[in-house]
């Protein structure tokens, strides 16, 4: 083929370019808005609980940057995981497998937002929080998505740390550092993530199997997964009450966290003992749904108390 022929072929194929099909809404979908809402909420709680105060505008900027950073890591995750997203029913309609956004467009979008959110947080709030956000994006996009997710059934345990950092970043946006109190907020989400995702993996096992993602029910079997869910639930319940014992939550929060923790353990026990048929499916779906309420209610409780304290003081 002559050079002129090659040029003609390239021009002809570029005329049939398939990019540029994404609307603004498709790019918003790349940010995983539902995950983002949880990040915004937990980061905000971290900021509200932190000692000291920042100007409301600076607080809003910090939450915005953390949200955009989380969205950017979601876009990078979708870029890298496009091949397996295409296979799983839960993810097949995401913008890349649906053919609305090309992988290159998603990558450029993710990198741009990552750099933008980190620099804005650093410049306008503080550089410690900015560096922490950069580390979190790196942890989620590289350590979790590119490395752990496809190589170990412990992917959720270690990768879950990325989802647990936002309240610490929110705290750092106010204080410029980390502390035991903010670490406990991290620990609550960190210990909550494995039973939450393993409950999902139990009733979506087929999807992960088809996609070749080594989730625990696929690699170690459902029985081992059930043991692990119960073990994590037992460890999570006291950590949920820890803010009371550390003195930054009232006895009302402590009682609520204890009740929710017991319910979490009970539902995990239910998953552990019902191992066959519809009963097993229902139990894992129920635990998965309850786990969402559990985390929301704990953080909502902490937020409510800090708001009440703010009004009283």
């Amino acid at each position: 083929m002559s050079l002129a022929d090659r040029q003609d072929t390239m021009i002809a194929s570029s005329n049939a370019w398939e990019g540029g099909m994404g609307s603004a809404g498709d790019y918003i979908a790349l940010l995983k808005p539902r995950v983002m809402s949880l990040v915004i909420f937990t980061a905000f709680v971290g900021m509200m609980l932190a000692p000291g105060s920042v100007h409301p505008v600076i607080a809003a900027v910090a939450v915005l940057c953390i949200a955009v950073g989380a969205g950017a890591s979601g876009a990078l995750n979708m870029w890298y995981d496009a091949d397996i997203d295409r296979i799983m029913s839960r993810t097949a309609k995401r913008p890349i497998p649906a053919g609305k956004v090309t992988p290159d467009e998603a990558l450029a979008f993710g990198i741009t937002l990552s750099i933008g959110s980190v620099l804005t947080l650093g410049l306008l709030v503080n550089w410690f929080a900015g560096a922490f956000l950069a580390f979190t994006i790196f942890f989620y996009a590289v350590v979790y998505t590119m490395w752990l997710k496809r190589s170990t059934p412990q992917n959720i345990v270690i990768g879950g740390a990325a989802g647990a950092f936002p309240p610490m970043i929110g705290w750092a946006a106010v204080t410029g550092d980390v502390s035991l109190e903010s670490f406990v907020l991290f620990l609550i989400i960190f210990m909550w993530t494995p039973p939450h995702f393993w409950a999902l993996a139990l009733f979506k096992k087929g999807d992960y199997e088809t996609a070749g993602v080594p989730m625990m029910p696929v690699t170690a079997g459902e029985t081992v997964t059930r043991h692990n869910i119960l073990a994590y639930a037992v460890l999570l319940a006291p950590i949920g009450v820890a803010p009371y014992f550390l003195g930054y939550a009232s006895v009302v929060y402590g009682a609520m966290a204890a009740g929710l923790g017991l319910a979490f353990v009970w539902l995990s026990y239910d998953v552990w003992r019902k191992r066959e048929g519809d009963a097993a499916h229902t139990a894992s779906v129920r635990l998965f749904k309850f786990s969402l309420y559990y985390l929301f209610l704990l953080f909502a409780g902490l937020l409510t108390e800090s708001l009440i304290k703010g009004f009283v003081a």
């Binding site: 003609d8 021009i11 570029s14 540029g20 099909m21 994404g22 603004a24 100007h55 505008v57 900027v61």
Partner: protein, 53 residues
């Protein structure tokens, strides 16, 4: 030169979606400008009035 040297031809749908993306980018840039302006004022505080006339 060949008949294909006009480069990429966008379909109507692609043009419509490009417009929606362009509007979103314009709004984001505008929001960034407003954000940096407001934060500058907030960070300077009352000092903004304390300047030699």
């Amino acid at each position: 030169m060949t008949q294909n040297d006009d480069g990429i031809k966008l379909t109507d749908d692609q043009q419509k979606k490009r417009r929606s993306r362009s509007v979103a980018i314009a709004l984001s840039l505008l929001a960034m400008v407003v954000l940096f302006y407001v934060v500058t004022i907030v960070k300077m505080g009352p000092e903004i009035l304390n300047r030699p006339l």
